[in-house]
Every structure is written in structure tokens, then in C-alpha cells.
Subunit: 178 residues, 2 copies
């Protein structure tokens, strides 16, 4: 079965500080037409940083969209033209103060394929050194450390709800054989 | 540390067929102000349906945002006022023709907490019966069956990229002790 949809035209609908939305009219596989509303995203990174004591660095951050403080791995958006690997090292240091010499890929995830083109690259960081945090002007978060096995249990039970954090923790568990 | 942000005002920015975007001006924890751009979402469901032979029902669907066919568990948005459990039974049947008498919760995930308020409820379906598919008018997909252990390996290796599918598969693996 042919599933591909082809762009016929595009309209930009919203250009915000962070979000950008466009609507494409597309040709469907059966010859009909429809519209696809897409949130444009530059791509992001998430870093599972594991310290010498087997603890994971997590950030507790008020997520306005949900009106609650969530537990997540350090993460952020790519800056214009930025390499994902470099962005991961940058975000890790900015949000937690931790520096790593090398990262191991934990693959990619697509958070919301129905309406957003965001790709999140996940990384594992070990052998951490300590520098200074540099948060964005409107970014407020608390850094905490959680034992790796406790975070795994929370990812599996549903207590941990952030998708990138769940996937990074469970991929790292398999990779490290923990 | 107080992390909460408080809404000062709201502007609706885009009201599409599927996407809705608003921008709130918020008071920050330090007394400053900023804006939060949010994609409004009614919430969604994803269903990991496991048949008697240990195979998972997956849908192969062209995802316009990525320009590629993705492998995902059956999923969809809540209709207005719809109960998530009922929506999961509905979406499973609409997309695959499978019917289930009972679902087991696999918890929730938040796909993009930085800019979207979507909550995806995940369920496990077993003891499947077979009815007819009823796809939306602009929905084209192919249903396939993949051995559960193969899907787990793909979720862990990164070959599987859809976030809800990765989390559902790995939570089901732990729940079922497979």
C-alpha cells in the first residue's frame, strides 16, 4: 500500500519566540487532499548523566503546560546550526554544572509524530566533572540525584511521565546491563 | 526553591482543525515575567495489543511531519468529553479491527512537556477478538504484527523511534515479566 502524502502548498500560521506552526495542504494516497498542521521544531537533546555512585542527575522543573513540577533528565533545544552532540554537552553543563568528555548515543525518539517534527537525540554521559550551571534567563530548576535502579522502577511503573526520560533510562539500563 | 509560574494573561494564537496554540504571560519565581507558548491538546491514548501468538499489532503510517513511514502502536486523540479507556477501545478497533474486553493501564506519558499539555494514556490489550477497521477519512495505514521480543529489542536499540510505542513496549515487558 502506498502511504506517502505530498505537499501541495504551505501557509505559515504562527511564529512565536519558541513555537512555529505551519499548515500544509497535501495530496493523499487516494488522490484526495487534506491539511496537515505541523509544529516546527529545531530538534532537541536529552542526557542521562550517571555519576560514580550510580546516581542519575535529574532536574525538577515547573512545566507550565501541566501546571506541575516534573522530574526529567537534562534536556534542551538545538541552537541554530548546532550539532546535537555539542548541544548535549552544552545543555548538561548549563542545567547541572556537570561536564563529560564523551557521550554514548542512546538513539532518537519522536515525541509527537502526529503533529510535530521534533527529533530528540538521547545520550548517556559518565565520568562526570563539575563546572558551573548557566541557566537561561527564564529557566528555574532544581538539580537532584536519584539512584539509577529507582529511576528505572519509576519509568516502568508510570511514576515518571516525561517520555524522553523514560526512554533514556530504559535504553541505558539495557546498554549497561544494569 | 519555589518553581511555580503563575498566569497573568492569555492570547489565543492559532485555532486549526487539530492544533490550538495559546501564549500566556506568566509571573516567574523571581518576580520577573516571561511568555509560555503552549500547544493545547485534548489528550491521547496508545494501545499495545498482544495476540495469542505473542505478536504485537503495529500500524505503519506515513507521518507527514517526518516525511517517512513510522511503526507505532495504535493510538489517537480523545474526542470531546471522551473517557480515555473508552477511547483506547475505540482507537484499537478503528485502526486494527481488534476488539478487547478489558485493558490494563500502562500509565501515562508526557511527550513534550516544554510546550504541549498532551497526556498520553497507555494500555495493554490481550484476549483480542476481530471486528472491522474504521479509519478516519484522511487516515491511511497498514496493520502489521511484530513478535513482542523483536519490538522490545527495537525499542531499546533505537530502531523504534515513536516515544509512546517505546514506553508502552518496555512497560509491558516489565509488567508481563517477558
Amino acid at each position: 500500500m502506498e502511504l506517502r502524502e505530498t505537499k501541495l502548498s504551505r501557509e505559515e500560521k504562527f511564529n512565536g519566540r519558541v513555537l512555529h506552526v505551519h499548515v500544509d495542504t497535501v495530496a493523499l494516497p487516494d488522490g484526495g487532499t487534506s491539511t496537515r498542521e505541523i509544529v516546527d521544531h529545531p530538534g532537541g537533546v536529552g542526557i542521562l548523566a550517571l555519576d560514580e555512585a550510580g546516581q542519575v542527575l535529574v532536574v525538577r522543573q515547573f512545566r507550565y503546560a501541566y501546571g506541575q513540577v516534573l522530574t526529567e533528565i537534562p534536556a534542551g533545544k538545538l541552537e541554530r546550526g548546532e550539532d546535537p552532540y555539542a548541544a548535549a554537552l552544552r545543555e548538561l553543563q548549563e542545567e547541572t554544572g556537570a561536564q563529560a568528555d564523551a557521550l554514548t548515543s542512546l538513539g532518537e525518539i519522536y515525541p509527537s509524530p502526529g503533529y510535530c517534527n521534533e527529533i530528540i537525540r538521547l545520550y548517556l554521559a559518565r565520568d562526570l566533572r563539575w563546572g558551573e550551571m548557566h541557566l537561561d534567563e527564564d529557566e528555574f530548576l532544581a538539580v537532584d540525584r536519584v539512584p539509577f535502579d529507582q529511576l528505572c522502577a519509576q519509568a516502568l511503573s508510570g511514576q515518571l511521565r516525561d517520555a524522553k526520560t523514560c526512554v533514556a533510562v530504559l535504553r541505558a539500563k539495557a546498554l549497561l546491563g544494569l
